[in-house]
Amino acid sequence: MATLTRREALGLIGLAGAGLAVPRPAAAAAFDWKRFSGTELHFMVSVHPWTAWAQKQLPALADATGIKINWEIIYEDQLRQKLPLLLRSDPGAIDGFFTLPSWDMAAFSRAGWYEPLDKYIHSDLTAPDWDLADYFPNILKIHQVKGEQIGIPITTELQTLFYNKAMLREKQLDPPKTLDALMAAAKALNNPKANIAGFVTRGDGVQAVYTLAPFIFAYGGRWLDDKGNPELSSPAAVDGLRYYGEILRAAGPPNIVGMQWKTSYPLFQQAHAAMFSDATNFITFFKDPDQSRIVDDVGVAALPAGPGGTHSTLISWGPAIAASSKKKEATWTAIQYLTTKAMAASALAATHNPPARQSVYNSDLYTKSVPADLVAATKAEIDSAVPNGANPIVVPVPEVRAAIGSAIVAVLQGKDARQAAEAAQQEVVKILAG
């Protein structure tokens, strides 16, 4: 990610042009990008590095396709309030929008706001070299409802284990590969007298639902059963929750209860924590010499496996077509233009977000811009990660996250995991019923 200096990044962009054998969209033979020339579209998107990059591509998009886009960027919270209002009350007002399925999917698909994309992708409306198969299959699943594509993922956001190489070396420890090894290493590295925590992640209930997820999956648990009922008090979920409480109580920082990510990552970054688990994006903060004390000491490993294996979470924003749009084919052309292989390379160079396309992910442009162990760790995780596993896929996500969050806070305060999980289960059943 943004481990690049400006000069390196510029060099890599040049490399992308020369090294990646990817045709520019306009050069793709026999595909008529100008088919919907003269169309005007309205996209409503959230503030995100990708949407900022995309906005800068609009003039080129207009040249290549003749499509003009009104690109409205608003904050994520506002998007979640304004978009549903417009989609419901003013059909045709929105042609395309930006969606995070782990958050939006249940509500948007139930309301019928996503236009299914398969009929566009598998037709002459799609350039032959756009190549859906180039995407990691598991990443495509992020934007699928019942097997049907409803959006195009733009990044790969996994969770990994970050560790301080120097601290592990000092105790002659290898990066832990299992939950048992993680627990042992965390306890061995924990040194309250020196103000060093063995392991840190999120302790704020609502936020920690995301970081708890891989622990529940590692014990073989899941958020919901096949019918969409919560499974928070299953033995596996209880085990995952108990482990989360135990390791953080035994080897976490003293103020772990209520700790948000903005407080947890600085501990690892300032060498006050030996290990840290959270989203891969955090590598940016650890590799930044202006703010990090561990630039050369940060190591990355796949999340340790439990009895059920290792299952990270996989999420990604992406553009989607509004089912109520009256210009869906032109909207697909625009989305397609912004997600070609060449454009994905350009977006990577500008945003440093790990790409969702395999060709770009495996290119030097990406693999040389991030530490090799990060690439190895994420590659090991992609196929077994749970698409949209960040929280249960339900309509009232924030409310359900708050209920699960209460259970997390309870175990961090030393309360019984089974009781906490059962209370959360009951609460979520109640929320979903009503």
Binding site: A107, V206, P266, Q270
Partner: protein, 305 residues
């Protein structure tokens, strides 16, 4: 009695104007302001009342449905709501109990002439003009037990294990009150300073001549004379404390658990995060009623003073 009435009546009746022909100038002059207030305050309030009587969702798969007072009765069975209500009262009481004496104390100090007084006054305004969100984040870092300076400072005075401030369910509200007080006590001090500067000199001279002690002068002269200003400060702080959300949102997000969730934060979460617009409107109306009642109570106190 009847004689008086008989005497007065003719005088009153003398102009014999019809009511609609009287002078309407005051009302006409007030009209634009009244219309503006009705538009910017009356309408939203009326609409809020309307929403509070419905089951209403933005994402919504159904149109808003009328539920009467259902949202309000549900409030009393909602533990998160009742807890946030009591927590807000606790926060407000603690806030007033610290802000007012501290503000008054600072004002009394500033009332004496000493070198650098002007500079100190200017410096006092700093926390107040800074953005609460930014200041909240700075305090989060300072209070961090591993990285923050606060633990270090406590260590210097021999307290090796200070509380965990924001992570401790018992300490989180007092800690937030402290940060709030750090930001807003200067405002109370400035209001009191203005009041002190405007006090008449004669009663104090007379009291000194009569041999009143400094405490007696403060207790029987300064405090009563300053009371109207102090109540203005109390009113402004009361409104802000009851409505507090900014520093809570950035410093704890209502946590740990819900241990610092104030009613305004709960209101925000319910209405805009949980998408229960009608229920959120009911919470907002309760908060509005609380702030209004508190303010009216203080206005009445001020009149009495």
């Amino acid at each position: 009695m009847s004689g008086v009435v008989a005497l007065v009546r003719p005088v009153e009746a003398a102009p014999r104007r019809r009511p609609w022909r009287r002078d309407w100038t005051p009302e006409l002059l007030l009209a634009p302001a009244l219309v503006a207030i009705a538009a910017v305050m009356g309408f939203p309030l009326a609409y809020l009342c309307y929403m509070s009587l419905h089951k209403w969702s933005l994402i919504g798969f159904a149109a808003p449905a009328f539920v009467g007072t259902g949202n309000f009765t549900a409030l009393f069975g909602d533990e998160r709501f009742t807890n946030s209500l009591w927590r807000t009262f606790y926060f407000t009481a603690l806030g007033l109990a610290t802000n007012l004496p501290a503000g008054l104390g600072i004002a009394l100090l500033l009332n004496r002439a000493f070198f650098g007084r002007g500079l100190l006054r200017a410096l006092l305004i700093f926390p107040m003009v800074a953005t609460p969100v930014a200041m909240g984040l700075v305090w989060v870092v300072m209070l961090d037990p591993s990285l923050g300076v606060v633990r270090y400072l406590f260590g210097l005075v021999g307290v090796a294990d200070p509380p965990l401030w924001l992570s401790d369910t018992d300490w989180v509200i007092p800690t937030l009150v402290f940060v709030d007080a750090w930001m807003w006590t200067p405002m109370v001090a400035l209001i009191c300073s203005a009041g002190l500067a405007a006090l008449p000199v004669e009663p104090f001279e007379a009291a000194t001549v009569d041999g009143a002690s400094a405490w007696q002068r403060f207790r029987y002269l300064t405090l009563p004379l300053l009371m109207p200003m102090l109540l203005v400060a109390a009113m402004l702080r009361l409104m802000d404390l009851l409505k507090v959300i900014d520093i809570v949102y950035v410093m704890t997000g209502g946590g740990p658990g819900h241990a610092s969730e104030t009613i305004n934060l709960y209101n925000y979460l319910v209405a805009l995060s949980y998408d229960k617009i009608g229920y959120g409107a009911a919470v907002a109306l309760v908060l509005f009623a609380l702030v209004l009642a508190g303010t009216l109570g203080l206005i009445r106190l001020r009149r009495a003073a």
